[in-house]
């Protein structure tokens, strides 16, 4: 599948353009050209960046934005904007999907306005975007240096370390390689693994959490006991042991492991959320009407939790990245270069910490990790404010 291996290749660009025709087509058909064209560009860029993994999610996002502009309620076309939120029990599944897509698109639009107006959120968003662009499109402009470059030793210098110069903006590492090239290439595996972990952990948490809350009884008790158990064991020490048991050829296994350990907190929150949603009138009405479990989960409970889940998804990404880099720094996971964590590990084991000339080799990956984590937390915090207006006055 043309996934992450098509990063910034012509194939990816092609995928992106093809994906872009979906929102563009819808936009042209319904005569909302501007959102259509914007969707086309968004799809092209993200498809160019990540192939299908970037293109298909972007189709969903941009199409729902376009749909939110064009949404028309057949029964009552004049109040259609308002009717996005109105529940109509007679509507068909297709109409429901359309309405939910419109609602989702509207949430996205509100979110982007909110982010633009919120200082911290905007900085966080720009930061995340910066690192995504750096790791996906950076390789187009900067060549990776994997081999030692002995020829770069300065006359009279003891080591190959170098401070930043106009030629090498971030200096040279212990083998005389360009630090900037390692920063550009070293984020990919880390970010992809963290996103995979976040996706898996969120999926497990949402499924288990809603099952526990809706089914109750023995299922609830078992799942709650399991989550309590995992929460009780100290996470990082356990990871330390597990990481040396399993042989990690692929970062995917590592993501599975991290996800298996990081779902319980979110699962508890989802369970509590579903329990409180379950007690609300409209869900009780749906239960009384005997509308079926899938209807209740997908139509009544899930749409009310999307923002909450999105925030926790980013939290899971953050946690995964923290643990991942931590394991690599301790030398417990044999990941391959280039990788930010391995840069730090190398810097530590090659004495770059204590060599004033080598400061860039250690500082550059640290700054990259810190800034990425910081952007994520600023972004999530402002998302929380946008979704939860009660916080807005405070922070």
């Amino acid at each position: 599948m043309a996934g992450f291996d098509t990063i910034a290749t012509p194939v990816g660009l092609l995928i992106g353009i093809i994906c872009g025709f979906v929102p563009l087509g819808i936009g042209i058909y319904y005569r909302h050209l501007r959102p259509g064209i914007m969707g086309f560009f968004a799809c092209t860029v993200s498809g160019f960046a990540c192939g299908f993994f970037g293109g298909i999610p972007m189709i969903l996002l941009s199409t729902s934005v376009v749909v939110s502009y064009v949404y028309v309620n057949r029964q009552d076309p004049f109040t259609s904007r308002k009717s996005i939120e109105e529940v109509d029990f007679a509507e068909t599944n297709a109409e429901f999907v359309l309405r939910q897509t419109a609602a989702f698109g509207r949430t996205l639009r509100a979110m982007s306005y909110g982010i633009l107006r919120n200082k911290g959120g905007f900085i966080g968003f720009v930061g995340i975007l910066f690192f995504l662009v750096l790791t996906t499109f950076g390789p187009l402009f900067i060549e990776y240096e994997g081999q030692p470059r002995m020829d770069r030793r300065l006359p009279g210098a003891m080591t190959l370390f170098q401070m930043p110069s106009s030629e090498h903006i971030l200096g040279l590492d212990f083998q005389g390689r360009d630090v900037l090239s390692h920063i550009v290439y070293g984020g990919q595996t880390l970010i992809i693994t963290a996103i995979e972990t976040g996706l898996m952990a969120t999926a497990i948490a949402v499924v288990f959490g809603s099952l526990a809350a809706l089914l109750g009884g023995i299922v609830d008790q078992l799942l709650s006991a399991l989550s309590n158990f995992i929460l009780t064991i100290p996470q990082f020490p356990l990871l330390l042991v597990l990481a040396s048991i399993l042989d990690f050829d692929s970062h995917f296994m590592l993501a599975v492991l991290l996800a298996a350990l990081s779902w319980p907190a979110l699962m508890r929150a989802v369970r509590a959320q579903v329990l409180s949603l379950k007690a609300r009138d409209y869900v009780e009405a749906a239960i009384t009407l005997d509308l079926g479990m899938s209807h209740i989960i997908l139509r009544e409970v899930f749409p009310n939790m999307v923002s909450y889940i999105a925030i926790n998804f980013i939290f899971a990404i953050r946690g995964a990245m923290y643990a991942l880099v931590g394991l690599v720094i301790l030398g417990m996971v044999p990941l391959r270069e280039p990788d930010w964590g391995i840069m730090i590990w190398n810097a530590r084991s090659r004495g770059a910490f204590y060599n004033p000339d080598a400061v860039m080799m250690a500082l550059a990956p640290i700054m990259a990790i810190a800034l990425f984590q910081l952007s994520l937390i600023l972004f999530t915090r402002s998302l929380e404010e946008i979704f939860n207006p009660r916080l807005r006055s405070g922070l």
Binding site: G120, I233, P234, V241, V359, I377
Partner: protein, 357 residues
Amino acid sequence: MSAASVPGRENSASGTFSKRLKNLTSSYMFRVIIQGLITIWAVTTFTFVLVRLLPGNPVDIRIDQLQNQGYTYEEAVRQAAGLYSFDPDEPIFSQYLRYISNLARGDLGVSITSAGTPVAAQIMRFLPWTLISVGSALVISFSLGILIGVMMAYWRGGVLDNVVTALASILSGIPDYVIAIVIILVGGVQLKLFNVGEMRGGVDPGIQGFTLEYVASVIKHAILPVTTYVLATVGTWILSMKSSTISTLGEDYIHVAKARGLPERRILIAYVGRNAMLPLVTRLAISIGFVLGGSVIVETFFEYPGLGLQLSRAVASRDYTTMQGIFLVISIAVIASNILSDLLIGWLDPRVSLEDK
């Protein structure tokens, strides 16, 4: 009053006893403690199996080392077998039974790689350092967070508030090991504020007895890890205290207190601060449990002799019994602190009833 001396009372005494037993089994404490014990057993069993799944047992690792030192295989096997009181060929189930029955008697076993040292003694040697460093960091960062959080909430909107809130956001977003490395790089190497090499370990070597000099040395060595932990956690405390205070400020009793003309200071301390602290106190109780887990990475970077460093060494040398012992201690701490936080919130805030849960 003895029930046996009065024959007629015997019945009623046994009646109150069974009633008491029933009260006991249905009480919240009892359920919680039984649950805790079951979780501890589950964690123990889990780590027991897990640890034995690690590739390579301690004897094999030692044999490898000896062979690298030039011994033949047979010699290495004989030496390693004599060195460790551990038989890798013993069935895992009989190992488990022996371990559990020893554990029930309070015996954590003997460290495999440093033969002759009981695990309990090893834990007792490393535990104080983690308690000192992470514990004092927790206290400092909690108190700082509470103070700054209340002030920021009370005078919110000002320049100071914006600066401190932004700073707290930044601090809460940076991982602790990044802070540790930055402290070493910037403070130790670039600015030469301190000598990183001298700051290693828990105390300067060669200081005997519990003297003032000893205490000073302990503090000196704890400064770097404590600073790291405080910086890594204080931001979160500030932000949550601030938002908790803001929601408290909107409560009716604050308006009433202001209407009664109480002095500002008194409202801030007795009315706002105490109520806003409630949710944070339970979180403090929960984080006490994670104190023992320490921070493996930070302790490794500063070579601070705490449980985390000990654990990572035990993992590297496959010291089964030490790993199990450390996991057991940490899990007990986590469970105990969870129970503590439940009890604490019930005691501090009577609105939360434990029996409802």
